[in-house]
């Protein structure tokens, strides 16, 4: 915008001669960096959930609304991300009480905050040099927090031991996932390292593998069978992939993203056996482990199952990822997550720790939030009652909305959506009329992108087209979330229903 206004001034004062071009207007031919000379892995990178076409268009619409341009909706509804607080869910008071004291220790003695929160803040600050939140913590994370995470995991798994030394904190779980993928990327024998990833899948994985020059071994989830993982599909995928790469690891997202299924113990066992057979490192993305929406499908961790299976399985190397961005806390903006890395050989562990140290350190405030999450008020502490009430409300509200969304999406003719058992995403399959598919082709768009952009244009709802997650060819989906508050969620599904009817009518006109 600067460039344009400078240009305008130049045009006023310079009636003859050449007009100097702004940096953005200049031909890129003399640039050092062009699409041909940058990192080729980055050239076609996509991140549809936060930088894809519907996000960019959504921002444009929001700007137009600010400028009072007439649009057929009054607000943009962002359902592209699993961002509960951004969608109106409250935070848990106890966590922010702790934060207010770690960033300003004067608050510990002001009598504003409960004593248990103050105790957490004091103990946390005491682990830092000079009691200062502004100091560099240990590159692997603060020991106190790592110890409490280990206890938290141990409790989750009914007593199966968790060692604090196996816990590595990071700026969000995504950083840890990236670090483990990086570790796995052995370029030694000239063959690419391959990693099995589900399709559909949180697109971070495809992006990160591309970024690293690794091979994505796609395995399809079985939509007709509630997005189950079929071992035959895994076998077929790995067999076919061996021509192109050396398979190194398998990623499982449980509960699923974007698919929201929760794996059964039997399924987890089968996957572990498969991984053992093929010597695959297990990467269990268990970010949504606390977001269970249906009582009859409890979350069971990969580590628990693997441990209970006994030898040789309990010696397998695996990583499990979790984050402050999900669960009841949903502190996406604070960027704190962790990985539990088990059964690694000591020298590999040292290499991982040094690699993590090159990223300097995870942020301290996020670690304080994590501390408050994994070391919450106990029953005899003053914050307990409020904490219990708030967390119970958050979970029950999330559950309610998940059930509502599942039901309502399935009530739309031409839609089918597996139950949102865990997590916060609806990923409906949509019938798109052939004429619309043809129109999408003419527009140079994928059919589900075309559909999602039309939905946005007419309703203001931002979803993420299914092609960004991968989907069986010839099927079309999008990812939306359970997260709008109930009144907005009601309006959303009503708008979607109305839109879909109109869309189908428009693109089946000639057939009538």
């Amino acid at each position: 915008m600067k460039a344009v206004s400078i240009l305008a001034i130049v045009l006023i004062f310079q009636t003859s001669g050449t007009v100097p071009s702004g940096p953005e207007l200049e031909s890129s031919s003399r640039k050092i960096l062009t699409l041909n000379t940058i990192n080729q892995n980055l050239r076609t990178l996509r991140m549809p959930t936060n930088a894809g076409p519907t996000i960019i268009e959504g921002r444009r619409k929001e700007q137009e609304l600010k400028e009072d341009k007439p649009l057929p909706f009054e607000e943009v509804l962002w359902t592209n991300a699993g961002d509960p607080q951004g969608m109106g869910d409250p935070y848990v008071t106890f966590i922010h009480d702790v934060l207010a004291m770690v960033v300003d220790a004067n608050n510990i003695n002001r009598g504003i905050y409960p004593k248990d929160a103050a105790k957490r803040a004091k103990a946390f600050l005491a682990t830092l040099e000079n009691n200062s939140i502004g100091t560099y913590p240990h590159p692997s994370g603060i020991e106190l927090v790592r110890r409490h995470v280990a206890k938290y995991i141990q409790k989750r798994d009914g007593g199966i031991p968790s060692r604090w030394q196996d816990i590595y904190l990071s700026n969000g779980a995504a950083t840890s996932i990236g670090n483990v993928l990086k570790l796995l990327n052995c370029q030694k024998d000239g063959s690419k390292s391959g990693v099995m990833i589900p399709v559909p899948q949180f697109p971070f994985y495809a992006a990160k593998l591309q970024d690293n020059g690794m091979h994505a071994i796609n395995y399809y989830l079985d939509e007709d069978n509630n997005w189950a993982i079929n071992i035959n599909h895994l076998e077929q995928a790995i067999t076919a992939a061996k021509e192109f790469c050396k398979p190194r690891a398998i990623v499982i997202i449980n509960p699923g993203n974007p698919t929201s299924q929760v794996l059964t113990r039997k399924s987890i066992k089968d996957i572990i056996k498969f991984a053992y057979k093929h010597r695959l490192f297990i990467m269990a993305d268990e970010a949504y482990q606390e977001n269970i929406n249906e009582d009859d499908c409890p979350f069971i961790s990969f580590k628990k199952v693997l441990s209970e299976m006994g030898e040789p399985y309990n010696k397998m190397e695996m990583a499990s990822f979790k984050t402050c961005s999900k669960g009841y806390a949903s502190e996406c903006g604070l960027r704190c997550g962790y990985v539990e890395l088990i059964n690694l050989s000591p020298d590999v562990r040292t290499a991982y720790e040094t690699y993590v140290a090159t990223q300097l350190t995870p942020n301290t405030v996020g670690q304080a939030a994590l501390e408050a999450i994994v070391n919450p008020p106990r029953e005899d502490e003053p914050s307990y009652e409020q904490w219990l009430k708030e967390t119970t409300n958050i979970f029950s509200s999330l559950k309610k909305r998940a059930k509502f969304l599942t039901k309502k999406l399935n009530s739309i003719k031409g839609y089918s959506c597996n139950p949102i058992q865990g997590g916060m995403y609806g990923f409906p399959r949509i019938d798109i009329p052939p004429q619309a598919i043809a129109a999408a082709k003419r527009a140079g768009q994928e059919p589900d992108e075309f559909y999602s952009l039309e939905l946005l244009n007419q309703t203001g709802i931002v979803v993420v087209p299914g092609n960004g997650f991968g989907q069986l060819p010839g099927t079309y989906h999008y990812r939306t979330t359970t997260l709008p508050q109930m009144d907005k969620l009601k309006k959303m599904v009503s708008d979607i229903k109305k839109f879909h009817k109109g869309f189908v009518a428009k693109y089946t006109q000639n057939e009538l």
Copy 2:
């Protein structure tokens, strides 16, 4: 420790038969991940400033002190990192006032914090969905903060325009540096991408290039000439490197790290011309731009010089990096930094933005701190007086300590240290007696590592051996900081002096 206790239980109950080994004790032969099968770029990675041998040994000593083991010192003095708050420097109240309100908006109306800080907090929260610090912000950073950073840079450079769209925030400057290096790593024609880096140099660069499989083109700084950058050295380095790689960029650290020199305008001009001639992307690491310790060597930004040089230089693509971890704020733990990326072609910019989006987002609290730093109290605002006093005190104290350290290190026989013009590091050159060099060799250590570990063993002072930064063969250094509070700094230099005398005496015994 868990493994040991389980083992103990097993030993009690199992008097015959084989003792099962804990995960860490098991042979790694059956592991999927061994040093031979992990990412080979990570195998020999080093990060001496936070994960090197003196750090590991320092942690061990600290543990021993906790266990009341008798040691010749009472505390471990951490001078390995540029971490002012960790070393006892105060934070700036205004910044933490803002933080206490962004993490708990109830504090805005409690009357605890000044109105100008409240205004910043409110404006900051208003940019976030649902006014929530726990929401995902824009992957490139919050627009409000990016706008204020641009204004801040524009003011710094005497009005030379800075566009907010050119500013990208990240979890620390290191992340941005890594991102730009990643962008530059073009593997297209089969040749490695080369990046010129100074020697000595902040080891993050060498580590990141190794991590990316890029070629480090080392150029030596001229210690005898106050660590000047000699264009002939640059020419020699790039000519020699062309055999191994395609040179793509030049990194300049100004003020220097670990060398603490401040570049003159003439030197910057010469480097820009050199970069232009060789079509090198300029990466200006200007993290320490505000930490100027001597009045006669002001900081001048690469962007300012390049802009003032006019065409064709002002069209050159460059990146300048800065961080909340340095300057008066020194908020290392909050992890917020930024890069200003100028003159990029729009399609390359889009690729960069997508890449950044795959890292999800920089943390919101760090961005709030950055907002408070680049949009500080104005003269007519209530926090101004305190802010001015605090920031003035911090800078004057840092200056004083820098001068003191320079002087005292130079007073040690066998030491020479260029003036600490900018930044917070002393990087003295040390005469190490041949017998000590031989002893180091026997111990399998670099001479400066051997020296630094002896220093730690006797005094508790943790420094970083010079070999971790690179140094002219046959010269020995270490990096320490100006950051211990004055009483500790005095003791530190006195301890070093005494130690060095003893060390030299010990390793010249036979010669006496």
